[in-house]
Symmetry: C2
Subunit: 400 residues, 2 copies
Amino acid sequence: MPEEERLNIVTCTAPVNIAVIKYWGKRDEELILPINSSLSVTLHQDQLKTTTTVATSRSFQEDRIWLNGKEEDITHPRLQSCLREIRRLARKRRNDGDPGLNSNGLSHRVHICSVNNFPTAAGLASSAAGFACLVYTLAQAFGVEGELSGIARQGSGSACRSIYGGFVQWIMGKEDDGKDSVAQQVEPENYWPELRILVLVASAERKPVGSTSGMQTSVQTSCLLKHRAESVVPDRMVQMIDAVKRKDFTVFAELTMKDSNQFHATCLDTYPPIFYLNHVSRQVINLVHRYNRHYGETRVAYTFDAGPNAVIFTLQQHVPEFVKVVQHFFPPDTNGGQFIKGLPVDCASLSEDLEQAIGLEPMPKGISYMISTKAGPGPCIVEDSSQHLLGPDGLPKITV
Amino acid sequence: MPEEERLNIVTCTAPVNIAVIKYWGKRDEELILPINSSLSVTLHQDQLKTTTTVATSRSFQEDRIWLNGKEEDITHPRLQSCLREIRRLARKRRNDGDPGLNSNGLSHRVHICSVNNFPTAAGLASSAAGFACLVYTLAQAFGVEGELSGIARQGSGSACRSIYGGFVQWIMGKEDDGKDSVAQQVEPENYWPELRILVLVASAERKPVGSTSGMQTSVQTSCLLKHRAESVVPDRMVQMIDAVKRKDFTVFAELTMKDSNQFHATCLDTYPPIFYLNHVSRQVINLVHRYNRHYGETRVAYTFDAGPNAVIFTLQQHVPEFVKVVQHFFPPDTNGGQFIKGLPVDCASLSEDLEQAIGLEPMPKGISYMISTKAGPGPCIVEDSSQHLLGPDGLPKITV
């Protein structure tokens, strides 16, 4: 194969992250600059990840992208922002005279193919993993190194946090050009090994208001959101980083719950109001508080993003019992598949005491399934070339 | 009958009120001083009222009270506050030498009997009407005149607003002793005759968190509530009073909805969070916004207190169609009684256009019934002595 037709191909994976101090509201729509800092835990890619293959070739006529098997519009402004920024950095590096750079590829068109290993219906923030993976993989393909979170941010705000593993803060920054609005790792993924995460996938009622338009309306109409961003979140960021560093589960858990509730409070203060929590979410919230009250300590915390699914944080030793509690109060659909996916969960019994202390009416099929996981690493390069999603012809190996 | 055994007996009625700028949170638990001012519409007593008979007699051995046919504990601190304050004013008046006062009654014990003409299950703030009626009737019995809202406030905060008809503000006041925390009529009940009110009684799921303990927890834990009280409500009070005076339904309605949502937002920001809105409430909220959007103007507004029932404000000309819409999307239980109680509502048809524009899944039996009413007067004396709830023996005529 002549040099100019050879495929430059690379495949990477990137994780989902779940915010414990929430991002809601932009001060700049185009650059995606937030009105407050936020903090998240990167979930392990063994359970939830996006895989992206990027190929460049002189023979490609145009930039193209396939998401979950379907070709999508490459001219989407946020995709274009990421492509433009990566190419700009690559040119800069060539102009700075980096000898390691294959400068040929700079003028080549790109084919991008991306898949999630979890259903979009799970309502998990797939755009964060997706844009982090896109930017990270493009960077590999174009030989770009260095700070990538600022580029991922321009694809989807929370994507910047998926550029790192473990505990990650997105510093809001002050500059108009957004240069200082980047993610930073607070602690790596192995820092707090006892911490466990359960994603409770609620049976979706319907598609709620999208987060982009939702946060726009909130910024325009909620006076509580403005106050939250200016006067509440700065202190909470300090407290949360401190709680993570000290591995203080009580503080971490309570702040996580309070911040989730406050985010949803600002959605309700939006006009017209936005509801992301449904009756299943409220039942999970009640269940968690009653569980903790029964033990007289905060053993479990919930957080909810712009949808009804709960993400539960707890410590390893409480997982079996709490999972049992969830199964009891949300009896699974027995016709379905496996209820617990991901990391194995030991069996536990549910004491009558605890059952009575919680005392909720069971809600059959309220939760479709749960994913048991933990904190995990940032984006990775996939070395096994059989994993590429694009074939030697530069087209997806599988389409739907 | 000898003079000393004669019964001094009086019967009065008092109205329910519904806040459009909400009261939530006390700065003084004992005196019941609020953290912000509030504004309400007094509902018409033809539909919703409390009736209270107070009798005093030298022959009574002790103060006693019967509520809705059942004897209750007269030593309840809030009842005692009201009794003490009325007796204090009566003594003051005697000491000031008012010749019209029957000063004999001052040392007499009191029997109190009170009933509501609406079920407590309706979840309407019966304590407001109840304490307003108690204080107003006691004042008649003891020959006390003048400002009574400050006394009613010490029974139940929002009761102070039921001392007046029409549109009423409760000025929070600044003094430590609460002397300046009183209600004032903004406009009388006939000021805005086109305004109509519909109480949509939601099928109750269970007893939610009581408002006394709920607001305590909110004051202690919600940073958004503090901000609301200090920085949001003062402006809203000015805007709302202005909207009432100008009869500007659009501003009145939007502020009413925003303030209801913000109150519930602060409940969600409370830790642990408090939920008063259920799935029926959320459906009503969505329905109202879609109805207004269809017409491109704000024709209908909702407000919710510490429970799932919606109170709807609209103008007379929109009542028939909106009621039809409610009946369509909340198909009533056909086995039950009348769905529409209170002021008669003309029939209307529901256009296919409107039905599709709303496009919600009907929720059968979500609403038990509705009460059609309007703004009404403050407490009244009942002249017809056959209406007394206490007999010549000073005991309730009817008990359960």
